[in-house]
C-alpha cells in the first residue's frame, strides 16, 4: 500500500502551508488604536511617564485619550496588549495584540476584556475581586490585570501636573 501511505502526507502538507504567517499576532498597533478609538482621525506618538509606546488619539485636533501598549508575561510567554484610556481617565477597553501561550487564549474574549471598561487608577483592579478570573488561564488573567493597574497608575501620574 505505498500509495496510501503517501496520501497520508497530503493533508499534513496542506496544513503546514500557512505556516509562514505570524501565528500569534491578532492586532497590529494601528488596528489596536482603531479598535480602542474608532472615532479618532489621528494618533500621535507621545510619552506617558516612562512609557515609550504611547499615542495621543484625537479627532479634529481635540484630544480623546491615550493608547498605551505594553507587555506582561502569561505563564511562559509574553502577552502584548493595548489599553485605551479616555481624557477622563477611564478605561475605554483592552485589546490583546499578541498571545503566544498554547493555553489560556480565552483572555482574548470580549467578555473578559470588557470587565476593564470604565476602570480608573483608583479602581481596585484585583483579579477575583473586581476582575473575574478565567479558570485555567489564571496567570494570564492576573498579569494582564496587574499590567492594566500599572499602566493606569503611570497614566494618572504623568497627566496630573
Amino acid at each position: 500500500m505505498p500509495r496510501a501511505e503517501h496520501m497520508f502526507w497530503v493533508p499534513i502538507a496542506v496544513l503546514c502551508a500557512p505556516a509562514t504567517v505570524q501565528a500569534t499576532q491578532y492586532l497590529t498597533v494601528e488596528q489596536a488604536q482603531k479598535a480602542l478609538f474608532p472615532e479618532a482621525d489621528g494618533f500621535a506618538a507621545t510619552r506617558v511617564g516612562e512609557l515609550q509606546r504611547a499615542w495621543e488619539a484625537s479627532r479634529d485636533g481635540v484630544l480623546l485619550g491615550h493608547v498605551l501598549v505594553d507587555e506582561v508575561i502569561g505563564k511562559q510567554e509574553l502577552i502584548t496588549y493595548a489599553l485605551g484610556v479616555g481624557v477622563d481617565g477611564a478605561v475605554r477597553n483592552v485589546e490583546i495584540m499578541d498571545y503566544r501561550e498554547s493555553r489560556g487564549g480565552e483572555v482574548r474574549g470580549a467578555r473578559w476584556r470588557e470587565q476593564f471598561k470604565g476602570k480608573r487608577s483608583t479602581s481596585p483592579l484585583r483579579l477575583e475581586e473586581d476582575i473575574q478570573n478565567i479558570s485555567g488561564a489564571t496567570l494570564s488573567c492576573r498579569h494582564i490585570t496587574e499590567g492594566v493597574r500599572r499602566l493606569l497608575a503611570v497614566h494618572a501620574a504623568a497627566l496630573k501636573k
Partner: protein
C-alpha cells in the same frame, strides 16, 4: 550650523546697510547692536542644543528603566522555566495518631519556543524529597510534549501529556485548588495527575469553547494492584507502556469570566494482549471514564462541583486471572478487580478577607465515591466496604501572595474513620 547661519545673516544685513558718511556713526552703532544680537542668538542656540541632548539621554535612561533588558517580545529568550511544589503535614485520627510530614512534590518546568507556531513544554517532578533504590521518592516526567499551532482553532500536540478529564488534572498547582490534599474523587475515580503518550488535537472555537481530542496509550489491567484507587495503579505514565491497545479521549470546556462548564471522556482496552502477564491474554477489559464539571465564582463565593463515572468491562475475567496469578505466585495476594467507578463532590469557598495580595478563604467540600468490585466469593475475593466512602472536608486557604498558599483542613471519612486526618500544607507556583 545654526550658529553659522546666524552669522551669515548678520553679515548680509551688515552689507546691506547704507554706508554714507553722514550715517556712518549710526551705522556702526547698528552693526554693534547686530553683533550683540548675533552673540545672544549663538548663546541661545548653544543652550538649546545642550538641553536637547540632556533630554534625549534622560529619555533613553527612562526607557531602559521602564523596560529592563529582555522584556520585549523580540528579546524574550526562547527557553523559559517555571515551577510549583508543596510541603504537607498529615496527622491521622487512627488509634496511633500517625503523623507524616512530606515534601510532597517539587516540580520544575521547562518550555521552549522554536518559532511562532512550534513549542515544547515539560514538567519534571520529584515526589517525597529523595529518590534512590532505598527511598520511597519518585522522579517522574509529568508532561513533555511538542505543540504545533496551525491556528487558534487547531493545535496538534505529540508526546506525554495530561488527559483533559476533570478540573484538577490539567490545572493542579497547589494555589489553584482548595484543600491541602487533592480531592478523593479526582484521585481515586479520575487518576490525577494522569498523563499518557500520544497525539492530540486541541483548540479554541471562538474565544470560549475549548475542545480536545486524541489517541493515546491507555491503562494496563495486569499492572493494577490497588483497587482502593480505582484504575489508578494500572496507569502506565509513559514508562515502556504496553501499547497493544490504544485509547481515545475527547473533552469540551466552556470558559467565561468566573465560569467553567465542561466534560470529558476517555476509552480504551486495558488487556494489552497479556503483554505484561500472559494470564491476561485474550481479555479486552475496556475502560471507559467520563466526567462533567462546573466552577462558578460570584460575589466572593467560589462554587465547584464534579461528577465522574467509569466502567471496566470483563472485570470478572480480570479477577479470575488474578486468582490464577496468585495460585502460580504465592507472594502475590489476589483482589477483586474494580468493575464500576463513580463519584461526585460539591465545594464552596468564601473569600472573607481580601486586601492587596492577601486572600483568606474558608471552604467546605462533601464527596462521595464508590469503587464496585467484581467479587469471587468462592476464592474469598470480596468487595472492600472501605471503597464506598463519604468524605467531608472543612478548612481554610490563606494566600500570602496570589501564588503562595498556606492551607489547613480537617477531613472526616465516614466509613473508614482511620483515614480521617488533619492537614497543613504550604504550596507555591511561579
Amino acid at each position: 550650523m545654526h550658529v553659522k547661519a546666524y552669522r551669515n545673516v548678520g553679515l548680509m544685513l551688515a552689507a546691506m546697510l547704507p554706508l554714507s558718511a553722514a550715517a556712518q556713526s549710526s551705522t556702526e552703532q547698528k552693526i554693534d547692536g547686530l553683533q550683540q544680537e548675533i552673540e545672544r542668538l549663538k548663546e541661545e542656540t548653544r543652550r538649546l542644543r545642550s538641553e536637547q541632548a540632556a533630554q534625549k539621554s534622560s529619555q533613553e535612561a527612562a526607557a531602559r528603566a521602564a523596560k529592563p533588558a529582555g522584556s520585549s517580545a523580540a528579546d524574550q529568550p526562547a527557553t523559559s522555566m517555571f515551577g510549583y511544589g508543596e510541603f504537607n503535614y498529615n496527622r491521622n485520627r487512627d488509634p496511633d495518631r500517625t503523623g507524616k510530614a512530606d515534601l510532597r512534590r517539587l516540580v520544575v518546568g521547562f518550555g521552549h519556543r522554536f518559532n511562532d507556531r512550534l513549542s515544547f513544554s515539560s514538567e519534571l517532578e520529584i515526589e517525597h524529597g529523595i529518590v534512590s533504590a532505598d527511598d520511597q521518592g519518585e522522579a517522574e516526567v509529568e508532561q513533555a510534549y511538542l505543540n504545533y499551532q496551525l491556528s487558534d482553532a487547531v493545535n496538534v500536540k505529540g508526546g506525554l501529556f495530561l488527559i483533559p478529564l476533570g478540573i484538577l488534572n490539567e490545572t493542579h498547582e497547589p494555589p489553584t485548588y482548595y484543600g491541602v490534599e487533592r480531592n478523593d474523587v479526582e484521585t481515586r475515580i479520575i487518576p490525577t495527575t494522569w498523563r499518557e503518550l500520544g497525539v492530540g488535537v486541541h483548540g479554541l472555537l471562538g474565544t470560549s469553547v475549548k475542545y480536545d481530542v486524541g489517541v493515546t496509550t491507555g491503562f494496563n489491567a495486569a499492572k493494577l494492584d490497588d483497587p482502593a484507587f480505582g484504575v489508578r495503579t494500572g496507569h502506565q505514565e509513559g514508562q515502556l507502556a504496553d501499547a497493544h491497545d490504544l485509547s481515545v479521549y475527547g473533552a469540551l470546556n466552556y470558559r467565561a469570566p468566573g465560569l467553567l462548564v465542561g466534560g470529558g471522556v476517555f476509552s480504551g482496552n486495558t488487556g494489552q494482549n497479556g503483554q505484561a502477564d500472559s494470564l491476561f491474554k485474550g481479555i479486552a477489559a475496556r475502560l471507559t471514564l467520563w466526567d462533567v464539571h462546573a466552577k462558578y465564582s460570584v460575589a466572593g463565593w467560589d462554587l465547584q462541583a464534579l461528577y465522574a463515572s467509569g466502567t471496566l468491562a470483563d472485570a470478572d475475567q480480570l479477577t479470575a486471572a488474578n486468582v490464577a496469578r496468585a495460585a502460580a505466585d504465592p507472594s502475590f495476594s489476589a483482589f477483586a478487580f474494580p468493575k464500576s467507578l463513580k463519584g461526585w463532590y460539591g465545594q464552596a469557598a468564601y473569600h472573607i478577607y481580601r486586601r492587596g495580595e492577601v486572600d483568606i478563604a474558608p471552604f467546605a467540600r462533601i464527596e462521595r465515591y464508590e469503587i464496585r468490585q467484581a467479587e469471587d466469593p468462592g476464592n474469598g475475593l470480596l468487595q472492600d466496604p472501605k471503597n464506598i466512602e463519604r468524605v467531608q472536608t472543612i478548612g481554610v486557604d490563606f494566600k500570602i501572595h496570589p501564588q503562595v498558599v498556606i492551607k489547613t483542613d480537617f477531613q472526616h471519612y465516614r466509613v473508614d474513620g482511620d483515614k480521617s486526618r488533619f492537614n497543613v500544607g504550604l504550596g507555591y507556583m511561579f
